[in-house]
């Protein structure tokens, strides 16, 4: 049974009144929803609140899920919309930061991140450090494509853009990630190549 069929079965159970079955969906998608929320908010407390809000919204509008896309795509659309609204409400550029802010953040955070990455000798730690240097949209699109198992069409649907725009945005996001890696983590990259 693939994830999509499994999700649809759980959704039907919830719609028929088995409220506890919703926990299966929460457990399956909490990490991803929380990660996307964290990309936007930049802090765990807000991300936690936002991710909870996403699941509550998803539960309330579950009858509107039309099964014409994957449940994950539908859920991530709610996540991105809720996160964008959150940023607009807060009116602070927590993680959607300008180039100057990235530079400023990089100067203070990178020595620490370098040390952590070196100490842990972990590629995952390195990647997470680099992702944090990207703006929310870039970090989200990379996460959706590589970790969320979403196609360019689905990313377009989630972010309210065409698949062509999603392709261009993904390309730019990867370029920026590559730049950040080679600018701030060139030693680690060299070590990995050896």
């Amino acid at each position: 049974m693939n994830a999509e069929t499994g999700d649809n079965e759980v959704i039907n159970r919830v719609l028929q009144g088995d409220q506890q079955a919703f926990a299966v969906l929460v457990k399956a998608y909490r990490h991803f929803v929380f990660t996307i929320a964290l990309r936007y908010t930049g802090n765990r407390e807000d991300a936690e609140e936002l991710a909870q809000d996403v699941f509550v919204k998803a539960y309330r509008s579950l009858a509107d899920f039309r099964h014409d896309s994957k449940f994950s795509t539908w859920l991530y659309t709610i996540t991105v919309n809720t996160s964008s609204s959150f940023l607009r409400k807060k009116k602070t550029e927590i993680h959607s930061i300008t180039n100057e802010r990235i530079f400023e953040l990089a100067n203070t955070a990178i020595p620490v991140m370098n040390r952590i990455a070196m100490e842990q000798k972990s590629k995952a730690a390195l990647m997470n450090s680099v992702i944090r240097l990207l703006n929310a949209d870039d970090a989200t699109i990379i996460t959706l494509f590589y970790e969320g198992d979403q196609s360019l069409e689905e990313i377009g649907q989630i972010m309210g853009i065409t698949s062509n725009t999603a392709k261009v945005k993904l390309h730019r996001a990867r370029q920026r990630l590559k730049e950040k890696l080679s600018t701030h983590f060139s030693n680690e990259l060299k070590e990995m190549r050896q």
């Binding site: 919703f22 990660t35 509550v56």
Partner: protein, 171 residues
């Protein structure tokens, strides 16, 4: 776009599988024979592997699922939008506007003197409308009254919805 960026773009497209068979064959040829392409490819491949295998998802607190289940326990699933939106009403409104626009267009075209040439402006003979004949005080009063009633109905629905929501949250 400089040459390096162009190579990068094409290699990313090749890896994503968003290019045609001919382009794919061309790029594979370049990757076999061109040292510059091979260098860029190995860099991008390394990054691709890092992104595929080494981006970790963050984990929320332990009580995350429990908190959500507690929160939704008091809530009900909202009925699907399609169950309370009557398509016939929407189609009716659409038809009304289509007929209105169509009628206006037909009226406009029938008023044009297609044989006119030379000074076109002088050939228009626009009818003079006596607005006071249509916009009487009785008409305006009725119009305003209908709007007030519609406004009150909307306000009533809005308040009832809020009250229901509050009741649901309290229960």
């Amino acid at each position: 776009m400089n040459e390096d960026q162009n190579i990068e773009t094409q290699i990313w497209n090749y890896m994503d599988g968003t290019i045609s068979v001919e382009e794919k064959a061309l790029i594979e040829g370049l990757l076999l024979n061109n040292a510059k392409w091979q260098k860029v490819y190995s860099e991008i491949l390394q990054l691709q592997i890092l992104m595929k295998n080494d981006i970790e998802l963050d984990e929320p607190y332990m009580s995350f699922t429990k908190n959500i289940m507690e929160e939704i326990a008091a809530l009900q699933i909202t009925p699907a939008t399609k169950t309370y939106i009557n398509k016939r009403i929407i189609n009716g409104i659409a038809a009304f506007f289509m007929i209105l626009i169509g009628g206006l267009l037909i009226y406009g075209f029938t008023q044009v003197d297609w044989t006119a040439n030379g000074n076109v402006l002088s050939s228009f003979n626009l009818p003079k409308l006596d607005q006071t004949k249509y916009f009487t005080s009785q008409f305006m009063n009725t119009f305003l009254m209908i709007n007030v009633v519609l406004g009150l109905i909307l306000l009533d629905r809005f308040l009832a919805k809020n009250m229901n929501r509050q009741k649901q949250q309290h229960t």
